[in-house]
């Protein structure tokens, strides 16, 4: 039973990174912009956060630095795709490659550095409950903030005027433009918000999850977060659940190996990706699911004059 509680705890931890990045990408995709640069933004944010943590010793400043770095890169990407109407997929891929190279370059002197002792967190009282305590109440505050963030985002998208405008722009930027909304500026804000959250996820990895810096350390989590938004049919709650599912599958395969379960470990390594494909196949069987939920202008350029 205790092993199961620890598995739940590890799952929440692993899922949080994916959830933060996935929620961020959800925001800009809801506004009609696909940003394939998630991996690159997370890498640059990871080194920005790590360097800040090394110099200031303050994790929260490190998160802020990561968010800043992510938002900055996203702004550059946004300038290209929103105003110059460059191809979103190509620009996003370029951002990803740039981020990988730039973070490696900027991080050369940080590979041997280490952070101070990582603080332990637990919610007083609740953490002592058997089973539930170790599973749910001994996490970093970011883990809980992520859940709150998903709820807040759902409220914003479906219950607030701002969210309605954002979704309207994602569905039909031409109509929103005709109504007088500054489509390009709102899209830029959405892209930057997405970048900031990807940045937070990147900094969380290098400062809390795997407290070190080595180049390429995000190791594909940005791509999984991108897949998550489709997987979740662009719904915040489903992004959150999907993230925990992915985290759970990843952790489960290691736990099964540790228990000596006789499944070839190569198969277990494939599980998270197999799960993605299976879910994508399942949801695409029902075409309306995707069509109803996918922002209609996703990935398409918008020319306000036309």
């Amino acid at each position: 039973m205790e092993a199961f509680a620890l598995l739940v705890a590890a799952t929440l931890n692993a899922g949080t990174v994916l959830a933060i990045a996935g929620l961020g990408l959800l925001i800009n995709e809801r506004a009609g912009i696909v940003n394939l640069g998630a991996e690159g933004m997370m890498l640059v944010a990871a080194i920005a956060g790590f360097a800040t943590a090394v110099h200031t010793g303050n994790d929260w400043l490190a998160f802020a630095a990561g968010m800043g770095a992510g938002a900055l890169l996203a702004a550059a990407f946004g300038g290209l795709v929103i105003w110059l109407n460059t191809n979103q997929y190509a620009s996003g891929l370029a951002l990803s490659l740039f981020g990988a190279g730039f973070s490696a370059f900027a991080g050369i002197t940080y590979t041997q550095q280490k952070l101070g002792e990582r603080a332990k967190f637990e919610i007083p009282g609740l953490a002592d409950i058997p089973f539930i305590g170790p599973a749910l109440f001994k996490h970093h505050p970011i883990v809980y903030l992520t859940v709150l963030g998903a709820i807040a985002l759902a409220w914003f998208l479906y219950r607030s005027r701002g969210g309605l405008v954002l979704r309207a722009i994602g569905e039909s930027p031409e109509s929103a433009h005709a109504l007088g909304y500054p489509v390009r500026r709102i899209r830029l804000a959405a892209v930057m918000a997405g970048g900031a959250l990807c940045g937070l996820a990147g900094a969380y990895i290098s400062v809390i999850y795997t407290p070190l810096w080595v180049e390429g350390m995000i190791a594909g989590k940005g791509w999984i977060a991108l897949a998550l938004t489709t997987f979740a049919t662009w719904r915040p709650a489903r992004v959150l659940l999907g993230a925990y599912l992915f985290g759970g599958v990843t952790m489960l395969q290691f736990h099964l190996q540790g228990e000596g379960v006789h499944i070839p470990s190569q198969w277990l390594s494939m599980l998270p990706y197999l799960a993605t494909i299976v879910v994508l196949v399942l949801i695409s069987r029902n075409a309306t699911w995707i069509r109803v939920n996918m922002p209609a202008s996703l990935g398409k350029p918008f020319f306000p004059g036309s």
Binding site: A10, Q112, L212, E215, G260
Partner: protein, 386 residues
Amino acid sequence: MTDKRMFLKLGSLTAVALAAGLVGCGKKEEPAKPAATAAAPAAASAPAKPAPLKIAFAYVGPVGDGGWTFAHDNGRKAVEKEFGDKVVTSFVEKVPESADAERVFRDLAGQGNKLIFGTTFGYMEPMLKVAGDNAGIKFEHATGYKTAPNMRTYDSRTYEGAYMAGVIAGKMTKSNTLGVVGSIPIPEVIRNINSFTLGAQSVNPKIKTKVVWVNEWFNPPKETEAATALINGGADVLMQNTDSSAVLQTAEKMGKRAFGWDSDMTAYGPKAHLGSAIINWAPYYIKATKDALDGKWETGQSWWGVKEGAIDMVSMAADIPEDTKKKVDEIKAGLKAGTFHPWTGPIVGQDGKEVLAKDAKADDKFLGGIKFYVKGVEGKVPGDGK
């Protein structure tokens, strides 16, 4: 301005031409001593000295990985220090184990390097090909098994370090459960898992070892997750055969113990760190360079361990009991003297069958083909198929 520069250029043209012979050209070249700058001294000293031996290294990772490649680059620096201006070394980092490697080796050969090191298993075939076309150049390949008249192999007995780590782990564990994060299930890594277990069993017969494979050499988040799974499964002392310090840091975070691997990793987890099983490539690199300088280089295979100063257990934690530290020192002394062999029978496989009879010592052929777990290791070797 242009005229003046031109004049200066012409004036020092002789110097440049002579210096070029000394320094050569190439990326990231680090001459041991600055080349002559003035025309006169260069002209005077150039004929007196033979041209330095040009040595190149191809690395699979970045020199800043803190583990495998970092250790190799320390070896390169040791060569420079040892031979001064008799050698010029250079390196190319992050050379993938693919067709790109062949191009890099051809480049290095074309740049006039006379001794070329490739530091990962995957360079074997490309190196063999390039060696075939460059008879005058000596090639050195780490961890491979194919040789040529001008290509030889070298490796280090990492299992000796794993065994010493096991001795410490067996004494320090409270749960009698050890954990290993494995990279790729090749004989070298399986041998290290077994050696770690055998070392631990030599001081604590109740030892069980759990293994989690990540199927990569270098993926810190994955290594972290694997280490977490091992700790959740009851392991309280971890070892890794991967290239980053993530496992040690996870142990630090979760209040367990672990080891450094390849390089001294104390700084990454001061409280969790029990010791580092390090590889010191310097003795071999210095020997190889000396062989080439003296014209005594010939093909062959080297597998160096504690005896040659290539493997060591360093920075042992203060809370390890004195008698355990003494035992590790005895093992080191025994390995140096050749009186101790970690793989001395009786050794029993997982199925209870004896794989090495009593008092028999495993030879290198046996060690090179280990594809089974010894008794005490849990789970199955991936790809075993049974």
